[in-house]
């Protein structure tokens, strides 16, 4: 038994998500990520169940574990009640803890995700919030999205939302005591430690690449190569 496999087995998602895999490939057949990316959940499950430490380390460094969309379509169909999507989540967690996520282009994107999402939660109490969800970085928000953004108070008020107000209802300002609760939950449950892992390893990688933090964010958020795609 080795360090990676043992560590993975401590994760409840792996305890739940991995029974004996028979390598049938049903998960890959149903998987939307496998259709788009050079991705094969069957192989990932198989590597983990093989307990091959070297192969697991390769996975932790690879783009492969970052291709999954966590739709869980595979869970419904697996004849052995495995959950490849959950196995991938455990691998991602370990890749972050070990710092190996910065070895792959798709893994490095965790820096941008952490900044944006945990920023929204800790600053606003929402996963998505109009203060940071902007047409400029989301042009697919459309001309209507731009219109919402330009007329934000009017548009929300008309449909009964209470944007940024001290009230009950949609998009209210989350009360201070609830925000304090969220901050303490992050501290008590290890979210702050996980974020430290992400930021420290990302900073190291940015230095290695000769990029400032801002440049690094721009790079990981906006730029990707075609080699990930199936038809490349």
């Amino acid at each position: 038994m080795g360090k990676y496999y043992d560590k993975l087995m401590q994760d409840y998602r792996l305890k739940e998500g991995l029974n004996a895999c028979i390598n049938c490939g049903t998960c890959t057949a149903i998987c939307p990520a496998a259709e788009f990316y050079k991705y094969n959940p069957k192989n990932i499950v198989n590597i983990v169940q093989s307990k091959d430490e070297e192969a697991i380390e390769e996975l932790l460094k690879s783009d492969a574990i970052w291709y999954c969309g966590e739709c869980m379509s595979c869970v419904t169909r697996c004849p052995r009640k495995n959950a490849p999507g959950l196995v991938v989540m455990s691998l991602r967690r370990l890749s972050i803890e070990t710092g190996l996520f910065t070895e792959s282009e798709k893994g490095r994107q965790q820096y941008a995700l952490a900044k944006v999402l945990t920023g929204n939660i800790l600053d606003h109490g929402y996963c998505v919030h109009p203060a940071t969800f902007k047409y400029e970085s989301h042009p697919e928000y459309g001309t209507v999205g731009k219109w919402i953004e330009d007329n934000i108070d009017d548009v929300y008020e008309r449909v009964g939302a209470v944007y940024n107000q001290d009230a009950t209802g949609a998009l209210r300002k989350i009360p201070k005591e609830s925000m304090d609760d969220l901050h303490r939950i992050f501290e008590v449950t290890g979210a702050n430690d996980l974020l430290d892992h992400i930021y420290t390893a990302s900073k190291k990688k940015a230095d290695e690449m000769g990029l400032t933090e801002e440049e690094y964010f721009h790079q990981v958020f906006n730029i990707t190569g075609p080699e990930h795609l199936n038809n490349y």
């Binding site: 409840y12 998602r13 305890k15 739940e16 939307p32 990520a33 259709e35 788009f36 969309g69 739709c71 869980m72 869970v75 419904t76 991602r92 967690r93 798709k106 994107q109 965790q110 995700l113 952490a114 999402l117 945990t118 939660i121 929402y126 996963c127 998505v128 919030h129 109009p130 970085s137 697919e140 459309g142 001309t143 209507v144 219109w147 330009d150 007329n151 009017d154 008020e157 008309r158 449909v159 009964g160 939302a161 009950t168 209802g169 949609a170 989350i174 009360p175 005591e177 609830s178 609760d181 969220l182 303490r184 939950i185 992050f186 008590v188 449950t189 290890g190 979210a191 996980l194 730029i223």
Partner: protein, 356 residues
């Protein structure tokens, strides 16, 4: 005998949804993009059906999107959700309804995991006490808001002002549905009809007189994929999956797409705009797209709510072709008004997709 067996299997997927007294939890995505849908649901259940739905301002995000983007630990998401259970417990409720499908999937996963690993539940109880000095009971019943619309489909249809009938042809409105993956793919027994034949949206549309139209990629993911959409560099994943669905449903000429997941609703709506701009293709009739409505928005239209009061102007794809087919009276001049009748400038017209 075989029939009895089948009935038993099917009975696993029938939910005994409680009739009243709900603790309501909003969705981050829906509050941003379609807050009118949540408000309208509350108006229907409280004021048209006389039910008790409670909400509190102390509720926060469940953390689901951050959890599925792998930037917060499972324990963190569990403790945030345990805090929501505590808010429900403090308010004296036992039934919880969440407006978001990501939340619904995550709450279900957590409840199932705690059943299997009670030591983990004990740890979360301790976490919540340490962080917030709160204690909780788990809900006796957990529902998604589309379950609520399904549950009340007949009382709502008794109040229907505009049933799902095409007033020009006399035929039923053609409905395709898209169920959010996290509604039942992980835990089929948690969803009405299970994962393979979910009935939660079909049952609603049929109760209103619509015709459900099947299409090959009906169960395919909308492509959100969390990190696959949120990181700009990955967004092609999201777009490609939705594209696959549109190509698949197009030949069946649907009048409307209905959804239960706030995220899917947004993607099926906005990617139509992007596909029109990038591929030069529009999927609906006469230069319009295919309108995309949530179960709550559909119910509200059928019951005669004003389309702009419930916020349908916040969709990019124009809903007017559907309103016209259903014979709904509306004032086009009011579509882009602000609060209190204030006239706002219209959104810019897209290149191809007609918006108004």
């Amino acid at each position: 005998m075989i029939y009895e067996g089948k009935k038993r299997i099917w009975s696993d997927y029938q939910k005994e949804i409680p009739d009243d007294h709900w603790f309501f939890a909003r969705s981050c995505i829906r509050q941003n993009f379609n807050p009118g849908a949540e408000n309208t649901m509350l108006d229907i259940v409280r004021n048209k059906l006389g039910k008790d739905f409670y909400e509190t301002k102390y509720h926060t995000t469940c953390g689901g999107i951050a959890y599925h983007s792998d930037v917060i630990p499972q324990e963190t998401a569990m403790t945030i959700i345990a805090r929501h259970f505590a808010l429900m417990t403090e308010a004296g409720y036992k039934n919880m309804v969440v407006s978001c499908v990501t939340s619904f999937g995550l709450y279900s996963e957590i409840l199932e995991t705690w059943k299997e690993f009670p030591e983990l539940k004990a740890k979360i109880q301790q976490n919540l006490w340490d962080a917030c000095r709160k204690e909780f009971d788990t809900p006796e019943y957990l529902a998604h808001s589309s379950d609520i619309m399904y549950k009340y489909r007949y009382p709502m249809s008794e109040q229907a002002k505009y049933p799902l009938t095409n007033v020009h042809t006399g035929k039923p409105i053609r409905v395709v549905e898209h169920i959010g993956c996290h509604y039942a793919k992980m835990f089929p027994s948690k969803g009405v009809g299970g994962a393979e034949y979910p009935y939660v949206l079909s049952g609603l549309a049929e109760a209103f007189g619509g015709e459900i139209v099947d299409y090959p990629e009906r169960r395919h993911c909308c492509g959100f994929g969390f990190r696959q959409y949120l990181v700009k560099a990955n967004r092609g994943y999201s777009l490609s999956n939705t594209y696959k669905k549109f190509e698949s449903m197009e030949p069946y000429k649907p009048d409307v797409i209905i959804t239960n997941c706030p995220g899917c609703n947004y993607f099926l709506d906005r990617w139509q705009y992007v596909l029109s701009e990038t591929n030069g293709k529009v999927y609906g009739e006469n230069g319009y797209g295919i309108p995309v409505l949530s179960s709550e928005e559909l119910a509200a239209l059928v019951m005669g709510y004003d389309p702009w009061t419930i916020g349908l102007q916040m969709h990019q794809v124009a809903v007017e072709p559907l309103l016209d087919k259903m014979g709904i009276k509306y004032d086009p001049a009011k579509k882009y008004e602000g609060a209190n009748g204030k006239q706002l400038p219209k959104p810019q017209a897209p290149t191809l997709l007609k918006c108004y």
